[in-house]
Symmetry: D2
Subunit: 446 residues, 4 copies
């Protein structure tokens, strides 16, 4: 549980919600039984009977997440509300779907008419860049869910917080929706601190964008399903390349900076893969039990092999001391794909085995893809729930999903640590059994 | 909760599991921390804090589901175990994936070598039909996940229970995996009763197959994601047809006998739809507030309209008294799609409006589709968990998923009632807002 | 050769082209070697050495088609030219691509700025309907090639010719591009006659739209590749349905009013098909050598069968005397698909064979599909060549392709008769061998 | 015309065909009008009326190609014929389709039962490699057209010719079908010389495999349509990446060693591309009129740019003197994609412009793809015609298509030179107009 306390899971609000929601007014007569959610509704983190029984003794409530959804009372007067949307960091399938969902949710459900897109990420707040804000409406976003990418453009890295809040003030923005990753959301939190310091009536809401699916307390993040769907097709292509040559070895590098969810799921969906290498499971390259020995054994036996590697895997194989960070503050990984390709080539040459090594890096192709329908529905729901929370006056929060219900989490909780594959759990277990790879590819004894 | 008692959720077992699982033996040294599940592990049905607090007073445990997964001890000796797989009812994306998962799970995880496919559903048990059993192995099922349909063939309807159990006895089958819908699983339960009566050492395990996603106590059934993915593409085609003609009205009929999940999700994924008609929300055809009046208003205003209708919607519009059932015992619905097409045509003619009505029924195209990667992974997990349960000696159960964990449910619980869209909940709410259709299309006052 | 004379292949022009083309001016300096086409360039119809030798004796030139392409001199002054585009008849993949190609060709290559879309087919010319013309520009058509359907809408049937030419006059339109089928193009020809009669300076150019690929003197029409691509996927689905049931018979009805090109090519691309029924090859239903007997033999032998039928096949099986035409003047065919489904069902029941018959009609799904890239490139080329011809003052012509070169044909030539499958040629031969169906399914002796 | 003489276009035969074809016998009664082709049937190379008129004076026949198709008489007795198939060089969509077509054509049309696959290219003939031959039959190849790659495996480079012919002799192979590129076919020709020298009764037939579509005297080679279809999707992804960043520049490297057909067609199919760089059109990097200046102008103006580069483009930009060849004898190109990425990055930095450069190399993903239906039908036809030619005793030939008819060409003619884009013709013209790129990106005056 990452040393988090129960109280860390409380979402802040700007103030009491006192206005009747247009949704409620709209439906009051025709659908009096429509469900509205209030702040007492929460979803328990651990739904196991063991946790239940353990907790029963305790006087405290179990850890739980605020349930997302439309509130009967809202904080902002729609006719006076100005909302802005910003997209940051690398591309991820579904960004346009989220933008569309936010715009339509604000416009049709709350009658907010003053909606703006900030261009090119946090840069868009900084006058020096000269990026104009774009007026958004249902007409503008009508068909954007049919395209990958982001209509607003994006950029990496934070900008000066004070300048950003100046921009919010100057533009009279009441609600800022941020679609971005870890670094972006952490930035959002700092923006919020500054807002608080200045006593402004501005809320910030985040929709976590991480194609790696590595946000804690969230079953899934948007774009992930599309990502491993696209990756699975590439894995099949790589299988054709591997079997197309005698002693053919195909390597596919997939996204996954700190966790191997895409790699694992793509391999399960297209189970021709023989090795999945992920950050969560350390491996040696050389030595009797190392990866290369296992690979050789496979190639000698079957004359082809298919390797899927997450970009964050095997980082310990590189020399230390020269860590580099990108503009978003992420540690820039050495390219494990290219490294493996070279090492495998050298290894087989050294072993006197004629092997053909092929390397595929489909990252840009995956992240710029159109969201599949399952993601499309999910993005829309995330966006609507972000709108509900923001209109109700909640702030410094992200929207998540847990136990198939949408939730609101404080940003610091969502960014405190990252979700990883449990190498003793059933997902990794399935990977091991599907690939047939050794459980342990290190030379240390467990 | 459908009047179910806590005790109804207990899964039966054939006997105590006393043999050490090959999985455990296989991993004991290399992965001593691997997680094994025992029968005390359960998932609480209602994970809300409200339910938690309400329950706290009570002396009883809350309703919960047995957690699925590999057990350390198993019931059947793999070297002596004979397993059979049967697929029943209509096609659904993912059947081949489930078959593949069962075969590979039995073969690689438990070293069961004696695996057979029953051809053409329950017919395959009846000697008169002359359908041979097919020997299954990883080689046979290697690439079948890349194809829709079922390699075993299927049929509708039950066969004589006694003759079926005779077949199980005659063939010395220990484990019967049934991939089928409501009627099939109910059949499975009756088979189980007969097995018990005869005192045989046979377990039956079900993997619920309903493209409609309407099984209670299960977040999702396999094939559903693929179904609405395929449906969404057809909905877009229909949009092109609707806008391609002046006053063009396109109608897409989708699966959904008792519930409109496919229709609702397809409409949310491809939000060009103007009307979603589902079994859960009654509508009148005629009258001031009826569907045709709303449709006319849309067509006059925008000159095209797109209607998605679930096959079970509007059944009250047909004359009663002539209910027909198909061989599976399902009530055969009148064809609401053709009916609507005719009624809409007549209506516009009557109104003096020249409209072009186009009707699309993509059912066979949807249900015979290849599983998308998300379904592929899901099918594999369902199959593996079915294998774990059956090898452990559990019987008369189905595999499900709840709160993102796999579960085992007694068949009678899973088939007692059907999951439906809550018309006061957030899914239907999203549909109403996305389509802009009237909340209430009946002439009665609510 | 359909009794056409050499002189029938001469394309009319409105007058001599005397203005220097902007393309020539634009490229004169940088690309002096660019190829421009003049009216002496023609493509020979029959490129066989036999025809060559036969012709050598003759004093006449062989039959040939005017070569399409940019002319150095043009007829219309771009700055004063007004062009209009109209789309008629049923949907076909690629219509939007053609519209885009026309607009961009006029705009970028010839600097024509005055381009309009006529809405809803020929109706758009008739004031009573009240359809506004739409101003078109590269911005408007930017992304439309990514969508199926037609952004202009369509309608069937001719309107009053005089009223249509009135509209052309009233709006000062100089060039009318018509995207439509047989009936539409014939209409275009009549419009042209009226234009000539009135002595107007208006040219008409057609881009033949027939998903059936049945235009004479043209290797291929746009949308056809996409059509059989989509059809092939449905054929595979049908294969899954056929094999999914014992004695499963799946029937797919595909487009093909007078010719079976889509059916034949879909069956060759997805060669699981057992019977292809097309208009060009008559068959009996009953009798020793009839289709049903052949089908029974297949089903008894293999327990499943897959039938692909073109919509115009087997029309002789219906009672005559009640021919109906649609608004475009096409004979409305009885539904051979539904008919076959019923007849097959009755037949097997009569034979005491329990068969499951499934019927799929994917027509709307196919014709509303997005053009595949091969079609996309083709549509663009067709459009550009239509623009080149029209700007050069050619009139009453359609754009075609022959021997992999683009051509201009007089409309009467292109609509005089229809292209059909030669049942003694290699395409039908391939179909017979791929399906294994009897050559002759009539009871007459050949 | 590459200095080829008329006589170069004569295809060799092993001897007179004297046996009645099983196809003829099979169809004689039921289809007496079926068309059979004899060696007098030829297709004229140049079907223009200009060439016709020029030739009329001459006493010689025009250059023409032998028409492919089933002959009434064949050379080999099917019951005694042994055929072998080998696939060489890099992957290309459709190889499995060709294999399937060959096997089914031999088996069903000619009743040849003795069909073998050579594994891993020409290596498969060399005993030292130990690759077993694989027995092929319709059952083995039933579903392989649904997969990319090659079921036979492949390798690059020639093997010892004498050893290869030894293998043909040793195995009593009568017909060798080779699916491969330039180098492979040239190898095939040399094998044929050796066969002639030894006086063996063996024919060799080639099916040209070049994803680049660069074979002379052939409109299209198999796999090309699939290649640019797949490439077009990646181009769209790259567009999303380019627009997703401020001053985003995306580069897609596509196949095209000596010709830019894939690059050109992908850009036309997905016309978001701003620059297409191909081997046929030289460009400077630097200087006032160089590519980088043009790119800068685009980026400054629109803030994003999309570049498609064929792998063989810009080779003059690399230092000479260190030419390297791969095992197939192809000159190994320096990686123009990586080079451009680096140069563009340096250039913008030097110009003080913050640009984001993204580089995509989808080659393996494209070449391992499943053939699209249009390719599927084409592959099947190529294969059947190869079978017809070989059974008739033709040798040292490849199958092609010209003027939409299948042809047979002597291998030396097909490999004498390569097809290239005519930079003064309509394809390149379309590319220039679609992209808006300068006609001339060199600093020399034209």
């Amino acid at each position: 549980m990452n040393d988090l306390k129960r109280s860390d899971f409380e979402v802040n609000r700007l103030g009491k919600a006192t206005l009747l929601s247009p949704i409620f007014k709209n439906y009051a007569e025709e659908a009096p039984d429509k469900e509205f959610i209030d702040d007492s509704r929460r979803i328990i983190f651990d739904a196991s009977i063991e946790a239940y029984n353990a907790n029963k003794e305790s006087s405290e409530d179990p850890i739980s997440f605020l349930k997302a959804g439309a509130r009967k009372e809202i904080y902002f007067d729609p006719s006076k509300t100005k909302a802005a949307i910003v997209t940051c960091g690398g591309l991820c399938p579904g960004i346009n779907n989220v933008i569309r969902g936010l715009v339509n949710g604000l416009y049709y459900r709350y009658k907010v008419r003053n909606i703006w897109g900030i261009q090119y990420g946090y840069q868009g707040f900084i006058p020096e860049y000269g990026h104009e804000m774009i007026k958004l409406s249902p007409d503008v976003v009508k068909d954007i869910h049919l395209f990958g990418g982001t209509i607003l453009g994006s950029s990496r890295g934070r900008q000066d917080i004070s300048a950003m809040v100046d921009a919010l003030e100057r533009e009279n923005i009441n609600i800022l929706f941020t679609i971005g990753g870890d670094g972006t959301l952490a930035g959002n939190h700092v923006i919020n601190e500054e807002i608080k310091r200045r006593g402004l009536k501005i809320v910030t809401a985040g929709i976590p964008k991480t194609i790696d699916n590595d946000v804690n307390f969230m079953t899934k993040t948007f774009g992930f399903d599309t990502a491993f769907t696209t990756a699975a097709a590439v894995v099949r292509d790589a299988h054709n390349e591997a079997t197309g040559a005698y002693n053919g070895v195909a390597i596919v590098k997939l996204m996954g900076r700190d966790s191997g969810f895409i790699a694992a799921n793509a391999a399960l969906a297209m189970p021709d893969v023989n090795f999945v290498l992920v950050p969560e499971s350390k491996f040696d390259l050389h030595g009797e039990k190392g990866f290369l020995a296992a690979l050789k054994s496979r190639v000698v036996d079957r004359h082809h092999a298919l390797v899927v590697v997450a970009e964050g895997a095997g980082q310990h194989l590189f020399d230390e001391g020269d860590e580099v960070k990108d503009k978003s503050g992420n540690v820039k990984h050495k390219d494990i794909g290219v490294f493996l390709k070279d090492e495998i080539g050298k290894f087989f040459t050294g072993e006197g085995i004629e092997a053909t090594v092929k390397y595929i890096d489909p990252s840009y192709i995956i992240r710029s893809e159109v969201a599949i329908p399952a993601d499309s529905v999910f993005c829309n729901d995330l966006a609507l729930n972000a709108v509900h929370g923001a209109m109700a006056g909640l702030t410094d929060f992200v929207v998540g999903r847990w136990h198939n219900q949408f939730t609101y989490l404080p940003i610091p909780v969502a960014t405190a640590s990252r979700k990883k594959i449990d190498v003793d759990g059933s997902l990794w277990w399935s990977v091991l059994e599907t690939t047939g790879q050794p459980i342990n590819m290190t030379n240390e004894k467990k």
